[in-house]
């Protein structure tokens, strides 16, 4: 209300991302900052709203089996592009552009960061200018990978025609100033610094966007970004303020802006090693020999979980931007299991559990033994202030129930770097437990739940590739996941997914700790902000306006 009018009526909006975008082509960078910056310019066929439901964006409607958009055998999906759509340069947006996007990203020499989006796609056809048909290798119950969500937008064939494969990086002009269908057009791109944009004159909705120009500043640190929005009022929108809760609270008192929180699928968790990491085993065996001497004992991992005061962790580390979770997949609602609770700490209960299981201190050193093996845990994590605080707290609790805990932290570029030569990567997992966070893109957890499959475990044989970090392995789990992959019905998929989630957690694959939300801040004068964790935060930037 009160915010309708001609396009560009509200002048300038200033956005600050403390990680600076370095490129505007989301296919050449997987970084959130780059993808979100690009989302203001290039758009997918469909995207998600803050609840995680799919919205038709450049198409008439979402194709489903019911409306015939998806074939019964789940191998083909047909998108119908909204007629009359144009690129920001005025040329028509056609199915050829969509097919080009597919070709661009799947070119073997292109190094496309979003190649997984097109996994399983056999071909893309364009029967006519408005129709895109995607054929899959096999039945694909969730066919909304390609061209959906901020990681899979459509780029203009005319602009990128000469930028295929190895030449992709050389197209600086195109990579910095892609032509898109979004509400804004890049006028100047300074890598790692600032992007200037103006409203797209050919945008499909009249009177939108309300802002004539956007200054998209990048760089610095989260505190400075928060300060610029909430305290000095120099900026209108600050992204992903990973700050201590009390810092956010003080900044809020500045009164110039307020924080907004949204929750997605990012879960901070402790992974439990299912192989024996004993250093005496030798480099090749450490990650193969099963089982772990004591971590697979239900009493042990349940006690470990019970000893943790998750509410306190949330308070200390994330404040409003976190909530207690007992699940691997915390959202969307359809897939979020509710069968487990874990929000109260129960040290005594944990002790009792261990005592009952006969895991007691037999040699009087204060540390319990299981079958003569003392419960000594090496707890590793990436180097990060909040994680080290968590480590210190958790160490304290675990020691209270009779374990000995050694802490270790590894620089994140090494930890997550995936260098097969380094012994400190999270894939090698040369520790008993390790803590980090992970999530999945989009709303469908099938691939993510696939991280629990036996054959996804990183081993020397697989060159340490694979996402099953804890090397969890259960036949029932594998079978159930297969079932999920063959199920098309949403309700049914939800039920199976929840069951998979529960199975993994209950069998000691991990100890979920905190469901980490996204906390951003916007100026009190900026209207229309609707924080979205399923898609780009800037997904509805066309609807933003100035509150007068």
């Amino acid at each position: 209300a009160g915010h309708e009018g001609p396009r560009g009526r509200d002048g300038e909006v200033k956005i600050i991302y403390w990680q600076a975008p370095s490129i505007m082509n989301p296919f050449l960078s997987g970084g959130t900052k780059d993808i979100e910056a690009a989302s203001m310019v290039v758009e997918p066929l469909a995207r998600y709203d803050p609840e995680g439901t799919m919205l038709p964006w450049l198409v008439e409607e979402i194709p489903t089996v019911e409306n015939g958009g998806v074939t019964e055998d789940l191998t083909q999906i047909t998108w119908k592009i909204t007629p009359g759509l144009t690129w920001s340069d005025g040329t028509p947006f056609t199915s050829a552009d969509v097919k080009f996007t597919y070709d661009y990203c799947t070119h073997p020499e292109g190094g496309c960061a979003q190649a997984t989006k097109f996994e399983g796609v056999a071909s893309v056809e364009t029967p006519d200018e408005q129709t895109v048909v995607v054929n899959f290798d096999g039945p694909t119950p969730f066919p909304y990978g390609p061209f959906v969500g901020n990681e899979s937008p459509i780029i203009q064939a005319a602009q990128f025609a000469d930028c295929m494969g190895a030449k992709a990086p050389e197209c600086t002009e195109a990579n910095f100033k892609p032509i898109g269908t979004g509400p804004f057009v890049v006028t100047e791109f300074k890598p790692n610094d600032v992007i200037s944009m103006v409203a797209n004159e050919n945008y499909r909705v009249d009177g939108k966007p309300a802002f004539a120009t956007v200054t998209f500043k990048g760089g610095g640190d989260a505190a400075a970004a928060g300060r610029a929005v909430m305290e000095t009022g120099e900026y209108d929108y600050a992204w992903n303020l990973q700050l201590a809760p009390d810092v956010i609270a003080t900044m809020e008192q500045g009164g110039k802006g307020k924080p907004v929180v949204g929750f997605g699928t990012l879960v901070e968790r402790i992974m439990l090693n299912h192989t024996n990491p004993d250093p005496s085993l030798g480099a090749e065996e450490r990650a193969v020999v099963r089982p772990h001497p004591f971590l697979q004992d239900p009493a042990v991992y349940k006690a470990l979980s019970m000893a943790i005061d998750r509410a306190l962790l949330v308070e200390v580390g994330y404040g409003q931007a976190g909530r207690v979770t007992c699940n691997w997949v915390p959202a969307p609602q359809l897939y979020a299991s509710t069968s487990m609770t874990c929000d109260t700490q129960d040290i005594e209960g944990a002790k009792k559990l261990l005592d009952d299981a006969g895991i007691v201190d037999t040699d009087g050193d204060g540390i319990r033994e299981k079958d003569g093996v003392p419960l000594a845990i090496l707890f590793q994590s990436s180097t990060n202030a909040v994680r080290q605080d968590f480590q210190a707290l958790i160490k304290d609790w675990w020691e209270q129930i009779g374990l000995s805990v050694e802490l270790r932290n590894v620089d994140s570029s090494v930890f997550f770097g995936g260098d097969p030569g380094s012994p400190d990567t999270f894939q090698k997992f040369y520790a008993d437990v390790q803590m980090y966070a992970n999530n999945f893109a989009g709303t469908d957890p099938q691939a993510y739940l696939g991280n629990g499959l036996c054959d996804k475990a990183p081993t020397p044989a697989s060159q340490w590739q694979g996402e099953n970090i804890s090397r969890f392995c259960m036949e029932e789990y594998d079978a159930l996941h297969k079932e999920l992959a063959a199920t098309g019905d949403l309700e049914e998929r939800g039920r199976i997914a929840k069951e998979l989630n529960d199975m993994a957690v209950a069998n000691g694959m991990m100890i979920p700790l905190v469901d980490r939300g996204r906390l951003s801040a916007h100026s009190v004068t900026l209207g229309g902000v609707d924080l979205n964790t399923w898609d780009s935060e800037l997904w509805n930037v066309a609807d933003w306006y100035r509150i007068k």
Binding site: A223, L243, A244, D246, V247, T250, L312, V316, T383, N384, A385, R387, Q388, D389, Q391, A392, L393, D396, L407, R408, N409, V410, D411, S413, V414, S422, P423, D424
Partner: protein, 318 residues
């Protein structure tokens, strides 16, 4: 004969004593240096002995007692949450500030001292050798210039990312980081010392007493240790005081850029960097470590000033 004796009486300035007593006497005439020394002694004792008196673990999270203010805040703010159990207050997780300050000081001072000593050692060695042996002068000074032309901070960052892992592996993360940081600081800050020392050695070499030493058959190594080194001590001392300060500051800059010691390992620089976002509500968290750094640097500089005067026999003679 009589003349000589008369002279002897007149030129008797102080009862003859040993050199270091003399140095000390001159030093104690320098008011700034004396205050500097006192403060430096205080802060050294504070970080060395402190943890034995104040035995709280600096990394202990006392979450119930978080965000306490230093005891002195009650002077103007009766409502402030203070307590003798945490005289300087606690941080947002309830870590005791006093204990952190002591522990941080230990690290910072250790980094400062070792970094400085290393830089001095390399610098003095290269300087003396280059100045003394004409044949080595060219190559060594070329090398010094070369190292001087390396962009230090960037390389520092690269080197930290480079060796952090392997060293932490070998020696544990804390010792590993310590050795890494100290080595890097040492390896990147010896050049000025080397240049100054070389210049002084070159000048000294022209002084006749070196020639005299050679003419009485003093071998080269003795010339260096007996005649050259004591006489370049004063510029070395000055470099030392500056070096200590730079080492402490460099470490804090590394911490700020996130490549310093691990998060659970306090240093003054890191405490300062970490507290910056909460500067307005909890000023003591930046002021205390900041002050510790500044005052240490300041006192060391004054000590350096005093030492330079005290080691200069021309001044000392007066």
């Amino acid at each position: 004969m009589t003349e000589v004796l008369a002279e002897a009486i007149i030129t008797e300035p102080h009862p003859a004593t040993n050199k270091w007593a003399d140095v000390w006497r001159q030093f104690s005439h320098h008011k700034g240096a004396l205050i500097g020394l006192l403060f430096f002694a205080f802060i050294t004792l504070f970080v060395l002995i402190g943890p034995y008196i104040w035995t709280l673990d600096p990394n202990k999270l006392d979450i119930r007692a978080k965000d306490m203010r230093p005891i002195y805040t009650v002077l103007w703010n009766g409502e402030a949450r203070v307590g003798w159990n945490h005289p300087l207050g606690t941080d947002n997780l309830g870590k005791d500030l006093l204990a952190q300050l002591m522990q941080g000081g230990r690290t910072s001072m250790a980094v400062g001292w070792t970094g400085m000593v290393l830089a001095l050692f390399i610098g003095a060695l290269i300087g003396v050798v280059a100045g003394f042996f004409r044949r080595l002068d060219g190559p060594l000074m070329r090398f010094t210039d070369l190292v001087l032309s390396l962009p230090i901070l960037p390389l520092l960052l690269v080197a930290v990312t480079l060796f952090r892992e392997s060293l932490s592996q070998m020696l544990g993360i804390e010792t590993g980081m310590f050795i890494l940081i100290v080595t890097i600081i040492g390896l990147t800050s010896w050049m000025q010392t080397a240049r100054i020392v070389r210049g002084d050695v070159l000048a000294l070499k022209e002084r006749e007493f070196i020639l005299a030493a050679r003419s009485i058959g003093t071998p080269n190594n003795k010339i260096i240790t007996r005649h050259i080194l004591p006489n370049v001590l004063s510029p070395i001392m000055v470099s030392a005081t500056l070096g200590l300060a730079t080492a402490i500051i460099t470490e804090s800059a590394l911490s700020f850029l996130g490549v310093g010691f691990p998060p659970d390992f306090p240093t003054w620089g890191k405490q300062l960097a970490d507290a910056v976002p909460r500067m307005t509500e909890y000023p003591e968290r930046v002021v205390l470590p900041g002050l510790a750094i500044s005052l240490t640097v300041l006192s060391v500089n004054y000590i350096g000033d005093g030492l330079r005067d005290a080691l200069d026999p021309r001044i000392r003679g007066r």
